[in-house]
Symmetry: C2
């Protein structure tokens, strides 16, 4: 018996909502405020920064993307600078001035790293970005506001606010183009956990009669209805992956313009078990640089939420699911029904 004390679905946001704040969850804006207040505590750990800075696909994509996007003389704003990495890259890329905005006291760490490394054109601003207006128009807003399920760090609200208030007429956001995937996948057999009635056992022990058994009801905790894919667990997609949505923060009209209800239809490429619908995203910096959190791409510091299916499919079979992104910023509210 093992893996017992690990609660991989404990999320601060969820906890904040669960403890008597259900009403907050009825508003995207209020959910954003909950995120703001828990964000500071969550990133107030060196280990989180170690994780992000050790994530090579992340660091490489930002390095390439920033050097391609920032031109000498540009004014840059780095939203949520953390250790300052993106601000440093922008400075190296030739920015004349970088405003590095960070709401937490961790900004003192970034300031010290800047000092030690001799950066002189970075101004560190301790503020919530929504309460900061730089004294000059900004050519490039750089950010890494992507959560595991893309939206869960208030990316949209924060960046549309900056776009409206501080960006120069030809200014741009980096990264601005995103693709979100919620894709039927199959797991490698050694990493698969089937529903009780589907588990095959030796000695002719048959669990199929437990399907729908009322005896199990008290023990259905929902712990695996959404879970985090362990690295290496996804072996392939069931069909050809297609993003459920694609948008550009430079042109997106409003948060409301993003559709919440999606039909996911795929044709199975082979006989397989569709273990679940797996969430990942791509951040497209430019034609040469895309950062992918796909479970089939090199591992990143982002996790992959899986909405459990455990459905047997046959080669050529058409499967369809209706997905409702109830609160964009809280993927624990995303739900799926077989169509």
């Amino acid at each position: 018996m093992a893996n017992r004390f690990r609660n991989t679905s404990t999320r601060a946001l969820r906890a904040a909502v669960a403890f008597g704040a259900e009403r907050i969850a009825s508003s995207e804006r209020l959910m954003g405020l909950v995120y703001d207040s828990t964000n500071e505590a969550n990133f107030a750990s060196v280990s989180h920064h170690e994780e992000m800075l050790s994530d090579q696909p992340r660091v490489r994509a930002y390095h390439r993307g920033i050097h391609a996007a920032v031109s000498p003389g540009d004014v840059v704003l780095d939203l949520g600078t953390g250790t300052g990495l993106l601000a440093f890259m922008a400075s190296r890329a030739g920015a004349s001035k970088v405003y590095a905005v960070e709401h937490s006291d961790f900004i003192e760490v970034a300031r010290e790293i800047a000092r030690v490394n001799g950066f002189t054109n970075i101004e560190f601003v301790q503020a919530n970005s929504r309460e900061f207006t730089p004294p000059e128009p900004v050519d490039v807003v750089i950010h890494e506001q992507m959560g595991d399920e893309l939206f869960n760090e208030n990316m949209l609200e924060n960046l549309l606010d900056l776009r409206a208030r501080v960006l120069a007429p030809n200014g741009r956001i980096l990264p601005a183009r995103f693709r979100l995937f919620v894709e039927p996948v199959t797991f490698t057999p050694s990493m698969r956990v089937r529903r009780l009635h589907n588990i095959e056992l030796p000695d002719d022990i048959d669990l199929s009669a437990m399907y729908g058994s009322p005896l199990l009801a008290p023990y259905e905790t929902g712990r695996f209805e959404h879970f985090w894919a362990r690295p290496g667990s996804v072996s392939s997609t069931i069909g050809t992956p297609e993003p459920i949505m694609e948008f550009d923060l430079n042109t997106l009209e409003s948060i409301e313009a993003l559709p919440r209800r999606h039909r996911i239809e795929r044709t199975a490429g082979s006989d397989a078990i569709a273990d679940g619908l797996c969430v990942w995203f791509e951040a497209i910096f430019d034609d040469d640089t895309t950062l992918s959190t796909s479970p089939l791409a090199p591992p990143t510091s982002w996790g992959n939420r899986v909405i459990r299916l455990d459905r047997e499919v046959h080669a050529g079979e058409r499967i369809a699911y209706d997905l409702d992104l109830y609160h964009l910023v809280d993927a624990s509210t995303w739900s799926v029904t077989q169509a």
Copy 2:
């Protein structure tokens, strides 16, 4: 920014201790009682049983081990029967009678699976094993009481109690032989998270000056001092693995006979980063069947705790650590110092 809301080190036991029960932690016996009380809640989830039953190395080892150890006519006791799997296997192996002991109400599920599968010689007993005495001597006690760090499910106390009270003179425990490893390992580069001052970044950004910086102190949460190895993260051991202890529950004199302080000395086989000391165990059923939770073996439902090192070593270098297993049953109290 990602992986933010996953608290992979939240353990019910730890939480129980943290919330004002520090004194309990000063006693192995009281820690055992804390485990007993949290155990019921933790395994009262179908998903935990799905995980264990989907763990092929686990199911295969028990299947082979039980069929080799149980002879026709044997009286068997299954300690912590859960879904009943080991009891069913013992029955199939020819046991004349199986006492399947389970303290939680989940025993009704096992009873139903037994009924559906036509088992008639299994007696389900809802009790803590320490309060149950079968009416006849037991030839084989079977169990799966191994926690992620072997001891953290009260395995020793429960089985030494049964051995003393219910086992026939030539009776045996299965599995009885165990090897515990706390082994220096290196991670695959894409899964490695280095300490802040050791992280290498592009654009000549140098973090080495942050070593020991007092600015970081408020953000040192200890979150990565012990962490769970993600599957596939361990690429090899630093030296030749050796168990820090090996024992046989059929002959072990007492819990106190197990040494708590260990010197771990290894010679690095090549230049590497010693990312941490990784915990795993082997359960030896017989000469043919061993269940290993090594991160280099096929994945199981057990996790691998890693005590962080992040130390560069060179081929031929001798490294030494002193390990103190302060409370055997609570690996969060295990500590390491460089020797």
